[in-house]
């Protein structure tokens, strides 16, 4: 990866580094992508410009796409079963909750 991107301060592994890079690149390119999408969707703009905008969008690198950003577990790096509220995967969440590290989280009984 050529561009320099700040390292996260949580658990580090390859997938988290890659996801972090994608986040920064996608945020950088977000305005440009929005503008191109607007041109491509705008029916009052000449057809040639619309096609050019679409083409440019398609040729932009994959790491500039917001779709590719994935919420990973901040403690274990797991990509699946991640609760966005806690940024942790289900097992890490369970361990932390039972240790009392999550404020206001207790076993559900009703």
């Amino acid at each position: 990866m050529v561009a320099k991107v700040p390292t996260p301060g949580c658990f580090l592994n390859t997938m988290i580094m890659r996801d972090n890079f994608k986040r920064h690149m996608a945020a950088e390119a977000e305005a440009e992508r929005r503008a191109l999408k607007y041109i491509a969707y705008n029916m009052t703009v000449p057809v040639r410009a619309r096609i050019q905008a679409q083409l440019r969008l398609a040729t932009m690198p994959n790491y500039t796409r917001m779709n590719q950003v994935k919420n990973r577990c901040v403690v274990s790096g797991k990509g699946r079963a991640v609760l966005s509220e806690f940024k942790m995967s289900r097992h890490q969440f369970r361990m932390a909750a039972q240790n009392g590290e999550l404020p206001g989280v207790k076993r559900a009984t009703w």
Partner: protein
Amino acid sequence: MSTLVTRPSAQRLRQLWKTSCEIFQTAYNPDSIRTGNKVLRQKLKGPAVISYYPVESPVKLRHIRAAFPMFKFPNTEDEHRVMMNELRKRRGKGPPKKKEDTGKRRRR
């Protein structure tokens, strides 16, 4: 009462619509042409996306140790790792012995 009053023409209604949009500063699009404005209306979520992973602390253990040499700051994670390795070695699960290099080479 309303049946006695004639309905204004479509053109007049359009004029009214247009003036109303000018007054209230809304977009005037009577034919519902897709202008792509809904793409522009969306909020940018770049900053929120970047702030998912916490920022790396500029202060590390070695900085604190260098700043306060009279105190002892244990590296809990490293001590745990060393302890686990010792336990494994006790069980006989340590790293295998390196083969001695006798100098004998295979003839190619």
